[in-house]
């Protein structure tokens, strides 16, 4: 969104609406959005009213059956669980990510880039490989259990892999940088004078933090929450690899409709559209709260 606004804003210094040059500059983004956001969503919307094709695929039609099926308790239960899991992931990421982002943002400029680099280095390795690496660490005969046994902290291997805890760990690990980076950008812009003013006016550290620092970094916090919560809700690989496929999240259910026995594309599309609408509402809501 922000990219769109700035591109429009650039020529508007002397012109209210973008001229030809503005539209030209904008066109790659518009084409991209049309092809990879609008078109797939439109296809999904059309599919979600269709009927299941014999070999997969969709027979175009207009039926609401797929949406009725979304409301079945089986799937609602999974939606609720997905929200709980991603909510917990978001909270943990915020609790762990905020101090890190704050520290990096307030660090000496010499160190800042190095520290930021360290947050981003994991991205150089494929996310799936990093997830499988956790299997090696967490399994019964794995690195962590080996260490704990050797230090005689435990006598029996501690079951970590294939538990809900492992899923949360994997999710937090995956999404932590997405919380740190936006908060960092907010912290970096923080005006030190305002914090000093808060202290001068008699605020203690807690009050200065809650009444001054947090409100001023709230755009970063909101962005971080959205960047963590929404993708965490749809991610399915972590559940399969670290959760042993036991804890289905909504992403797994959608995947199964396309790659599993059921070959039920219309239902998968209906699930996708439902999530999309839910996100849209959540996004609009947070956006409005921001403006207030």
């Amino acid at each position: 969104m922000r990219t769109g606004n700035t591109s429009v804003a650039a020529p508007s210094g002397y012109q209210r609406s973008p001229g030809l040059a503005g539209w030209l500059l904008l066109s790659p983004l518009l084409v991209w959005v049309a092809l990879f956001v609008v078109a797939p969503t439109a296809i999904m919307l059309v599919y979600s009213f269709g009927r299941r094709g014999t070999l997969g695929g969709v027979v175009l039609d207009f039926t609401l059956d797929n949406y009725a099926a979304v409301l079945d308790p089986t799937y609602l239960k999974i939606v609720v669980r997905s929200i709980l899991y991603s909510g917990l992931t978001t909270i943990l990421c915020l609790l762990m990510g905020y101090p890190v982002a704050y520290y990096i943002g307030r660090a000496d400029a010499r160190w800042r880039n190095l520290l930021l680099m360290m947050v981003m280095i994991p991205f150089w390795t494929s996310f799936l490989i990093r997830t499988y690496a956790w299997v090696t660490i967490l399994k019964n005969e794995g690195l962590l259990n080996g260490l704990l046994l050797q230090w005689q902290l435990i006598t029996q291997p501690f079951e970590m892999l294939y538990t809900p805890g492992a899923v949360i760990l994997g999710l937090v690990y995956t999404f932590l940088p997405f919380m740190i980076l936006p908060i960092y950008t907010s912290v970096e812009k923080l005006d030190n004078a305002l914090i000093e003013a808060a202290f001068d006016l008699g605020a203690g550290p807690v009050r200065a933090f809650s009444r001054v620092i947090v409100p001023m970094t709230s755009p970063g916090i909101t962005a971080g929450i959205l960047l963590v919560f929404i993708p965490a809700l749809g991610l399915y690989a972590v559940n399969d690899v670290l959760g042993g496929g036991k804890v289905d999240m909504i992403g797994n259910i959608i995947e199964n409709q396309f790659k599993g026995n059921a070959r039920n594309w219309p239902f998968g599309s209906a699930l996708g559209i439902t999530l999309l609408v839910a996100f849209g509402i959540a996004f609009w809501f947070t956006g409005r709260r921001q403006q207030e």
């Binding site: 014999t54 070999l55 695929g57 089986t74 799937y75 299997v135 294939y162 289905d248 599993g260 059921a262």
Partner: protein, 382 residues
């Protein structure tokens, strides 16, 4: 398609066009990396050749490319290299992880494949929908090597469309260091309270339901609402005992020592046995699912000729032997089996002794939907 005719045809055409255009674009995008990586030299002229109409193939210049769409971890690189070297036909090997994933890409039509590798129930569905190209057996003389029991099977009763690649079973693996070898004879023995948290099973609703049906004496293909209702209590008891659901690599949890029992593909079990003889393979006494993965040519294949050349190539005993060496499933090629080592033939997971009760899957169409829902529901509740 009939049902949709009552709606605005114009609107529908627009949608179809938009869908086709978008899918084609996406397909083109997803295809380009593989093309890039596979032919760094002279890529430009090769691409239009692949897309050229079938008329070209009839003019008899040998096809330049073979688009092979097969299971991941199922076609040895040595076999592909050997074929390329001998024929000069470039093999573009794209992979999938489930029959349904393959179907999804096939019906989207974005990429036209020359050769696919479906399992028996998927072949049946493809044949019913007239999606397969008939094989001209005069071009596949090595078909004589196929064992008689793999001909005329229910999914291809007249032997028109498929060449069996590998067959296998779904059975029980027991870590005999943790559980005495004789203790497990069937599904019922696996799912006992004392093994809670020590079991890996395939992450495949139809497989799981089939096992439960077997314990009630219900044939694998009798998927009816009544029978599903009958097995529901069985699964309610079973699923909470499972530690891991994994179709891709169920051997991992067994090798890592995270579980001691598993219901897995026989090829996985054979690899485990090769790794360590403590992993015993047991075909469930209640009856087991036998699957047959075969090569088939999609109806819209750009060069069926190349596909048939490949079929004939892999049916050579010395080539088929290489496939068995990497992927120790049951080789349906009699001539190749004669070339296997005694150790390979003695692997109980590859070539189960005795005369086990085996059933193949038939296409069950939309009856798969309630299966999927029931297993999802029970998993969520457990």
């Amino acid at each position: 398609m009939k049902r949709s005719k009552s709606y605005s045809v114009v609107w529908q055409r627009g949608v179809v066009l938009a869908v086709v255009a978008a899918v084609a674009l996406l397909g083109a995008c997803s295809k380009s990396p593989s093309t890039e990586e596979k032919k760094p030299d002279a890529a430009a002229p090769a691409a239009p050749a692949a897309a050229a109409p079938a008329a070209k193939a009839e003019a008899k210049p040998l096809p330049k490319e073979l688009n092979l769409f097969a299971w991941s971890e199922y076609v040895p690189q040595t076999v592909i290299d050997g074929f390329q070297k001998e024929t000069g036909i470039k093999v573009n090997y794209e992979t999938y992880a489930s029959n349904e994933e393959m179907l999804a890409k096939l019906v989207s039509g974005a990429t036209r494949y020359d050769l696919i590798q479906p399992s028996e129930y998927t072949i049946e569905a493809l044949v019913n929908e007239k999606q397969l190209h008939e094989i001209d057996w005069s071009k596949v003389p090595n078909a004589k090597n196929i064992a008689p029991e793999y001909r005329g099977m229910p999914h291809d009763p007249q032997n028109k469309y498929t060449v069996p690649w590998m067959a296998g079973t779904v059975g029980i693996v027991v870590n005999t260091e943790k559980i005495p070898a004789g203790a497990i004879k069937g599904y019922g023995d696996v799912f006992q309270d004392k093994y809670k948290g020590r079991i890996v099973v395939l992450d495949d609703p139809r497989e799981i339901v089939t096992w439960a049906m077997a314990t009630k004496g219900i044939p694998a293909n009798d998927v009816t609402p009544e029978n599903l209702e009958k097995v529901k209590p069985v699964l309610e008891k079973w699923l909470p005992l499972v530690k891991v659901y994994d179709s891709d690599s169920p051997k991992t949890a067994l090798l890592n020592g995270d579980v001691d029992l598993g219901i897995v593909w026989s090829g996985e079990a054979a690899l485990l046995y090769n790794e360590d003889k403590k992993f015993a393979y047991v075909l469930p006494a209640e009856g087991a699912h036998q699957f047959i993965d075969s090569l088939a040519i999609p109806a819209n294949a750009p060069s069926p000729e190349a596909a048939m050349l490949f079929m004939n190539y892999i049916l050579r005993p010395e080539v088929s032997k290489l496939i068995s060496a990497d992927f120790p499933y049951t080789n349906p090629n009699l001539a190749a089996r004669k070339e296997l080592s005694p150790e390979e033939l003695a692997n109980p997971a590859s070539y189960p002794p005795g005369n086990p009760k085996l059933e193949t899957f038939r296409d069950i169409g939309d009856r798969a939907v309630p299966i999927d829902k029931m297993v999802t529901d029970l998993k969520a509740g457990s």
